[in-house]
C-alpha cells in the first residue's frame, strides 16, 4: 500500500510540475495576475507530493518491503536501520527521486523567500524550475521508478555495496545534490531574465544568494566525497581525477566564477551576458555530469547500473533544457545592454581575470575527461587520460588564481592602482617568501612553492580586513569598533579565500607523505616517518552484518606511546565482498593511516602511511563553505534581496 501511495505521490508531483511550468510561463507571458499568483502554490504542492513519495520509499526500505524491486536489490534484513534509510538514495532510482525532491525544495524556497520579487519574474523562475522538474520526474516515473513491484517477493534483499555502508557516504549525495540542483535556481533566473530581455543590478542581487548557497553545498559535497575516498577506499589518496570527481569539479569551477561575476552585475551592471551564460553553463554542467555517469559513456569506479537506454532519455532531456536555454541565449542575449565601463586594473578587472582562469581550468578538465570517448568515437583510438595530464595542466592555471585571489579584494571598483596592493600586503608576501624559502631547504620545489602560496593566501586574504580595521595601527578599541562596522561579506570573502590556502597547504603536506607496505607477524616493529609501528595481535570480531579480522597496532614516537590503532577487514557474507576499514589517527598536523591487507601463514600485510597536514584538505573546504555562508548573512544581501523590511521602514 505504502509504495502505491508513493508512486501516486510521484505522479502527482509530476503533474504539479507540468502545471507549474505552464501556468508560470503562460501567466507571465499574458501578464495574467491570477495565473502568476497561482504558481507558488503549485510549487509548494509539488514539494509536498515529492516529500510524500520520498517518505514512502524510506518507509518501504525501513520496513523491509522486498516486493519493491528497488528495496530488494539494494537492501537486506540484516542491514542497520540508518543505512536502510540513507540507502534509499544510494542507488540510481532513489537518487533520481532525491534529485527531484531537492529541485522541489528549491521551487518551494523560491516561493517562500521570493514573495517580494516582481510577480512576472517570480512566475517565470518558478515556471522554468517546474519545467525542469517535470522532465526529471517523467524520467523517474518511466525509466527509473523506485516503486516498481515484483511478485513473489524475495525472502531477503540482495544488500547494499558494503563500501557505501558508511556514515560519510550516507550524507554525501544529499549535500552534493543540494549543490548540483541548487544551481537550477540561478539557471531559472537566467532563463527568466532572457525571456524578459532585461537584467539589472537587482537581478544580480537576487541571484547571488542562491548561487552562493549552492556553491557552499557543492564545496562541502565534493570535500565529503574526497574524504570518503581517503578513509574508506584505503588507497591513501584523496583525489583521483576520476570522471565522476571531475563531473563535480566542473560545475564547482564555473559556479565559483558565477558567484564572483554576479557581484559585478550587482555593483556595476557589467558582465551581464557573461553572468547569464555562466548561470546556464553551471547548471548544464551539473546535469551533464549526472548524464555521463549514468549512461556508461565514461569509465569510472562509481557503480551505477549503466544503461544506454536510460542515457538516451536523459540526453533528450538535456537537449531540451540545455539546448533550449542556449537557443534562447543566442536569440535574446544580443538585446541585453551592458552598463559600467572599467579600467583593466580594477576590482572588475580582477574578477574578470578570476573568471577567465577558472573557466580555463574548467575547460582543461572537460577536455581531459571527454577526450577518451571522443578520441574513440572520432579517431578509433583507445586512450586514457590520467592524473599526470591534469596535474600538469591545472597547476599552471591555478597558480595565477592563487596569487591574485589574496589581494584582489583590495582593488577599488572602476579604476585602481597596483601600488596599494604593495603597501597593504607586503608583509603577507614577505611571510610567504620566508615560508617558501625555509621549505625549499627541506623538500622538493613544488611543495615548497605550494606552502609559500598557502601562506600568501591565508595571510593576504585578511589584509583587507586588517586594513579596514586599522589593526595594529590604531588603539584596540578603535579597531574593534571598526570591525563591528565591517560588512560581513568582506569577512566572509577573506575566510573563504583563506580556506583555499588551508586546502593548498593540506595538498602540499599530502605530497610529502610517506608509506610502506610490510608483511608482519605479531611482535614485529617497523619505522616510518619518525614513528614506530608495532603489530600487537590479530583477532576476529563479529559485526552487525559482517565478520571482521582486526589488527591491533601500537604506534610510538621515540618510545612514547602515541596511539593504539585497529584497522580491520570486513567480510560481508551476503554480498561475498570484503572491505578494509582503515584506521586513522589525526592530531590535525599529521594523519597516521594503517590498512590491513591479506593474511597468509600467520603473517598479515600492513600498509602504513604518515600523511602530514592531510586533514587540512577537507578542513580548508569547510572553511571556504563557512566563508560563503557568512557572506550570506551580510545585511546588504538581505536588505537588497527580496526584502520585506524595505517597505516597512529603515527610518535611520
Amino acid at each position: 500500500m505504502i509504495p502505491e501511495l508513493g508512486h501516486f505521490a510521484l505522479a502527482l508531483a509530476c503533474a504539479f510540475a507540468f502545471a507549474q511550468a505552464i501556468v508560470g510561463l503562460w501567466g507571465a507571458h499574458r501578464r495574467d495576475m491570477r495565473l502568476m499568483a497561482a504558481t507558488p502554490g503549485l510549487a509548494v504542492g509539488q514539494l509536498l507530493a515529492l516529500a510524500g513519495a520520498s517518505l514512502a520509499l524510506v518507509l518501504a526500505s525501513a520496513w523491509d518491503d522486498f516486493s519493491v524491486v528497488n528495496v530488494a536489490e539494494n537492501s537486506a534484513v540484516a542491514k542497520p536501520l540508518l543505512y536502510k534509510i540513507t540507502g534509499t538514495w544510494g542507488n540510481h532510482e532513489g537518487s533520481i527521486l532525491l534529485w527531484g525532491l531537492i529541485l522541489g525544495i528549491c521551487g518551494g524556497l523560491v516561493s517562500v523567500f521570493g514573495r517580494t520579487l516582481p510577480s512576472a519574474l517570480r512566475a517565470r523562475v518558478l515556471g522554468v524550475l517546474g519545467g525542469t522538474s517535470a522532465g526529471f520526474l517523467l524520467f523517474c516515473l518511466t525509466t527509473s521508478n523506485p516503486f516498481w513491484r515484483s511478485w513473489p517477493a524475495p525472502a531477503d534483499g540482495r544488500g547494499m555495496n558494503p563500501l557505501l555502508q558508511d556514515p560519510g557516504l550516507a550524507f554525501h549525495p544529499p549535500v552534493l545534490y543540494m549543490g548540483y540542483v541548487g544551481f537550477a535556481v540561478p539557471f531559472a533566473f537566467a532563463v527568466a531574465a532572457l525571456l524578459e530581455g532585461r537584467i539589472d543590478a537587482a537581478w544580480g542581487r537576487w541571484v547571488r544568494p542562491w548561487a552562493l548557497v549552492s556553491w557552499c553545498f557543492l564545496t562541502c559535497g565534493i570535500a565529503m566525497g574526497s574524504w570518503w575516498a581517503y578513509y574508506e577506499l584505503g588507497w591513501g589518496g584523496y583525489w583521483f581525477w576520476d570522471p565522476v570527481e571531475n563531473a563535480s569539479l566542473m560545475p564547482w569551477l564555473t559556479g565559483t566564477a558565477l558567484v564572483h561575476s554576479a557581484i559585478v552585475v550587482e555593483k556595476r551592471e557589467s558582465l551581464k551576458i557573461w553572468t547569464v551564460l555562466l548561470a546556464i553553463g553551471t547548471f548544464s554542467l551539473s546535469l551533464s555530469g549526472t548524464f555521463l555517469v549514468r549512461s556508461g559513456i565514461l569509465n569510472s569506479v562509481h557503480a551505477f547500473a549503466n544503461d544506454p537506454a536510460r542515457g538516451i532519455f536523459i540526453l533528450g532531456l538535456l537537449g531540451l533544457v540545455i539546448g533550449g536555454s542556449l537557443l534562447l541565449f543566442a536569440l535574446r542575449a544580443p538585446l541585453l545592454r551592458s552598463g559600467g565601463v572599467f579600467a583593466p586594473v580594477s576590482r572588475e578587472g580582477g574578477l574578470v581575470l578570476n573568471n577567465i582562469f577558472l573557466c580555463s581550468i574548467c575547460a582543461v578538465v572537460i577536455v581531459g575527461t571527454m577526450y577518451p570517448p571522443f578520441a574513440d568515437l572520432l579517431l578509433g583510438q583507445k586512450i586514457s587520460v590520467g592524473a599526470p595530464f591534469f596535474n600538469a595542466t591545472v597547476l599552471p592555471l591555478a597558480i595565477p588564481v592563487f596569487l591574485a585571489m589574496a589581494v584582489g579584494p583590495l582593488l577599488p571598483w572602476k579604476r585602481g592602482r597596483l601600488m596599494p596592493l604593495v603597501t597593504h600586503a607586503w608583509w603577507a608576501a614577505l611571510a610567504a617568501v620566508a615560508v617558501g624559502g625555509v621549505c625549499a631547504g627541506n623538500m622538493a620545489v613544488l611543495p615548497a612553492l605550494a606552502f609559500g602560496a598557502a601562506t600568501w593566501l591565508i595571510l593576504g586574504s585578511f589584509s583587507e580586513v586588517i586594513e579596514r580595521t586599522l589593526l595594529f595601527r590604531a588603539p584596540v578599541a578603535n579597531s574593534v569598533r571598526r570591525a563591528r562596522g565591517l560588512p560581513v561579506a568582506v569577512l566572509g570573502a577573506a575566510i573563504a579565500h583563506a580556506g583555499m590556502g588551508v586546502t593548498i597547504a593540506g595538498i602540499a603536506g599530502m605530497s610529502l607523505s610517506s608509506n610502506k607496505i610490510v608483511e608482519a607477524k605479531p611482535g614485529d616493529q617497523f619505522k616510518l616517518g619518525g614513528y614506530e609501528f608495532t603489530l600487537l595481535s590479530l583477532s576476529s570480531e563479529p559485526g552487525p552484518n559482517f565478520a571482521s579480522r582486526v589488527a591491533s597496532i601500537e604506534v610510538t614516537q621515540g618510545g612514547t606511546p602515541v596511539a593504539i590503532m585497529r584497522p580491520s577487514k570486513r567480510n560481508f557474507a551476503s554480498q561475498n565482498q570484503t572491505t578494509s576499514d582503515v584506521a586513522i589517527r589525526t592530531n590535525f598536523l599529521r594523519d597516521l593511516y594503517v590498512v590491513l591487507g591479506d593474511e597468509r601463514d600467520g603473517q598479515a600485510v600492513l600498509r602504513l602511511h604518515v600523511n602530514p597536514l592531510a586533514p587540512w584538505i577537507w578542513l580548508g573546504a569547510l572553511v571556504m563553505a563557512a566563508g560563503g555562508a557568512l557572506s550570506l548573512a551580510d545585511r546588504r544581501l538581505r536588505v537588497g534581496a527580496p526584502s520585506r523590511l524595505r517597505a516597512g521602514a529603515v527610518p535611520a
Partner: protein, 187 residues
C-alpha cells in the same frame, strides 16, 4: 560587427549541439554493440601473431605459433588465455564449450599456472580446446599484450589478430561480435 556578436553568442549553442550529437551517436552505437568505451583495446589488434613455442600439459604436446598459422590456413583459430584460479574463466567455460561443439577451433594457453592445476581445471569445467599450451612464465602473454585472464584473440588465414576480447566470453558477445568476426575471417 553586430553579426559577429550574434555569431559569438550563438557559439555556446553550437558547442552544446555538437556535443549532443556526439553523445547521441555514442549511445546508439553502444546499444548496437559497435562502440564500447569500456573496451580497453589491444595494441596487437590487426598485427601479425607473435612468435612463441609453448610446452603442453604432459603427456600431450604443446604448440607453437607455426602450428597456429598452419591451422589458421584451414579455418580461423580462437586463442584463449585462461588460468585455473580465475572465476571468469570458469564462467566462460560453457560458452567456449558451445563454440567448440559448433566446430570453432579454440586453442588454449594456460597463463602463469601450474600444469597440474590447469589439467584439474579442464577436468572440472570441460576441455573445449583443440590444443593446450602452457605459458608458465607469462612471456608469450607479454608478446600478446595480455591485459588479464580470460582474454581471447581471433587469428585469420593471413595470421593476423582480427578480433580481440579482454574478459570472459558470453553468449551476447559471441552473438554480437565473435560470430560476425568469424564470418569476416572466413571470407
Amino acid at each position: 560587427m553586430i553579426a559577429r556578436r550574434r555569431l559569438l553568442l550563438a557559439a555556446p549553442l553550437g558547442v552544446a549541439a555538437a556535443g549532443g550529437v556526439a553523445f547521441w551517436s555514442m549511445l546508439t552505437r553502444m546499444q548496437g554493440g559497435t562502440f564500447d568505451p569500456h573496451d580497453i583495446g589491444n595494441p596487437m589488434l590487426g598485427k601479425h601473431l607473435p612468435d612463441f613455442d609453448l610446452p603442453g600439459i604432459a603427456p600431450s604436446p604443446g604448440f607453437s605459433s607455426r602450428d597456429v598459422l598452419a591451422a589458421a590456413q584451414r579455418q580461423p583459430v580462437l586463442i584463449n588465455f585462461f588460468m585455473s584460479t580465475c572465476i571468469p574463466c570458469a564462467e566462460e567455460a560453457e560458452t567456449l564449450d558451445a563454440l567448440s561443439r559448433q566446430g570453432v577451433a579454440i586453442w588454449g594457453i594456460a597463463w602463469e599456472d601450474e600444469p597440474a592445476k590447469s589439467a584439474a581445471f579442464l577436468d572440472r569445467y570441460g576441455n573445449p580446446f583443440t590444443r593446450v599450451g602452457t605459458d608458465r612464465r607469462g612471456t608469450a602473454a607479454i608478446d600478446f599484450g595480455l591485459y588479464g585472464v580470460p582474454e581471447s584473440y581471433l587469428i585469420d588465414r593471413t595470421g593476423r589478430i582480427v578480433w580481440h576480447m579482454a574478459g570472459g566470453l558470453s553468449d551476447v558477445v559471441v552473438e554480437q561480435q565473435l560470430t560476425p568476426a568469424l564470418a569476416r575471417a572466413r571470407v
